[in-house]
């Protein structure tokens, strides 16, 4: 079921994004599909046009998946595209990794390192944002979906 978020719910999401990552604004409509998955749509179709379209055909997806609400804590876990879309606005909870770590990360494996951070953090290697991880005392949990994982140890130059 597609739920175009009204202003109040959008502000709640923005407030979380601001608190977690320093993100100040969202350009476009936020849409929820299911309870947790958040999509950003910045086409110029109005809410009414979307609803009218939904009346006549099956809408599979609107916009781009930018992240999900992480159930245990209610934090927002940005997807790879989510971190890329907000790359110029993310100012907090960024953890920069090195070349070797980026290879491990993109293979979908957790990183056994101390970050000094807790909770959901944005992962960055050079100028590439690589989605979010969950930082705990000695490691960063990995959320890279299988379809986006690196199968050989290629290097980002």
């Amino acid at each position: 079921m597609i739920h175009i978020l009204p202003n109040q719910e959008t502000q709640e999401i923005l407030s979380k994004l601001k608190e977690q990552f320093g993100i100040q604004k969202i350009a476009g409509k936020l849409i929820k599909i299911g309870k947790e998955r958040i999509f950003l749509f910045n086409g110029d179709f109005s809410d009414e046009q979307i609803k009218n379209l939904e009346k006549i055909t099956f809408i599979e997806k609107i916009g781009i998946y930018i992240g999900a609400i992480f159930p245990p804590t209610g934090e927002i876990r940005l997807s790879i595209e989510g971190t890329q879309i907000f790359k110029d606005q993310i100012t907090k909870n960024i953890f920069e990794i090195d070349n070797e770590q980026s290879k491990i990360w993109m293979q979908g494996e957790e990183l056994n390192i101390q970050t000094g951070l807790r909770g959901i953090i944005a992962i960055k290697y050079k100028d590439n944002f690589l989605g979010c991880g969950k930082a705990s005392e000695n490691k960063i949990g990995n959320f890279i979906p299988k379809s986006r994982r690196l199968r050989s140890k290629n290097i980002i130059k």
């Binding site: 379209l53 006549i56 916009g63 781009i64 595209e81 980026s102 994982r149 980002i156």
Partner: protein, 320 residues
């Protein structure tokens, strides 16, 4: 090792009818050669200059082959099979692996910022993502396909490419046009990259060669006519449609264009297309059929002319 492509005798006869002897010999030779490693820089995420630097640091030799389309690149190295799709730059959505000929429909359609666009048979999403890049995620694209398996591939590719202006619908193309017509929803641009027999894709798909049969072409031609008829009905005045296929079959190309010209008479005109490759004009006679002279404005793209796959593009404008 590349498997030798062995087209069916009936297909060979047909290609001999379409081409001169000298052209046919070139065609026969080139379909046995591997395709170029062509990629399209996804300008929604990175500039061609930045991508080129990243890829060259990997040791890839990059050539930008089309003037005015710096996003189109050839990786000149010999790469192991699947290597283009395994790179981290691909996983991050910095480029899309797309055959050169397949880039031509969106170039012909030339969508503009803030337009409402329909991509009627959108999966796997190469052209949808190309159009989203062309208009920098502005406007709205409705990307439709009929099968859930194809929709999953479409959705995954659009996500990887950072496409955020698109609504994906799942519907039979003809039925969708009828429903949109009833709702009076009309489009500035429509891309009808129609389901086809894929004769132009033999270099990349041995399966196409094995599956080819003349009966399928007849039934596809009927479907293509229904799709183009439906698409015209939901085009705004002065709106444009690009009809494209990856086949050489005149029944699926000029015959469909001829049908549209006869069906919509003075309501539409066919437009000349400027493409960055060598194109041949549409044919006006095939078997016992004679087509409208204006089908000459269509573009036939042959593998031997551009070291690409085979393709067909036609562009229409709605006048009334």
């Amino acid at each position: 090792m590349k498997i030798k492509i062995q087209p069916k005798p009936e297909f060979i006869e047909k290609m001999k009818k379409l081409l001169s002897q000298a052209d046919f010999e070139k065609y026969e030779k080139i379909i046995q050669e591997p395709l170029l490693n062509s990629i399209r820089c996804n300008t929604l995420k990175i500039s061609p200059e930045e991508l080129k630097i990243k890829l060259e640091k990997k040791g890839w030799k990059i050539r930008q082959i089309w003037e005015n389309y710096s996003e189109v690149m050839i990786v000149e190295n010999e790469l192991p099979p699947g290597e283009l799709g395994r790179s981290i730059e691909h996983l991050l959505g910095y480029y899309y692996i797309q055959e050169l000929a397949s880039m031509l429909s969106a170039i012909a359609l030339a969508p503009k910022k803030n337009e409402l666009i329909l991509d009627l048979c959108a999966s796997p999403g190469s052209k949808t993502s190309q159009m989203a890049s062309q208009i920098n995620n502005s406007g709205t694209i409705i990307a439709n396909d009929v099968k859930i398996e194809r929709i999953k591939i479409l959705a995954s590719n659009l996500e990887r490419c950072g496409v955020s202006n698109t609504i994906i619908t799942r519907e039979d193309g003809v039925a969708l046009c009828e429903k949109l017509k009833l709702q009076n929803l009309k489009f500035d641009k429509i891309l009808l990259d129609a389901p086809c027999s894929g004769e132009g894709t033999m270099r990349s798909s041995v399966k196409t060669c094995l599956m080819w049969n003349p009966n399928t072409i007849k039934s596809l031609s009927k479907l293509q006519k229904k799709l183009i008829q439906g698409a015209f009905e939901i085009l705004k005045p002065k709106g444009e449609i690009v009809y494209s296929t990856c086949t050489h079959a005149p029944e699926e190309n000029e015959e469909v264009v001829d049908f549209a010209l006869k069906e919509f008479k003075d309501k539409i005109k066919i437009e000349k297309i400027n493409l960055p490759v060598k194109c041949r004009e549409g044919i006006t006679r095939w078997n016992n059929e004679e087509y409208d002279e204006r089908v000459k404005f269509c573009a036939r793209i042959y593998p031997q002319d551009n070291n690409s796959e085979g393709f067909f593009v036609a562009k229409f404008k709605k006048i009334k």
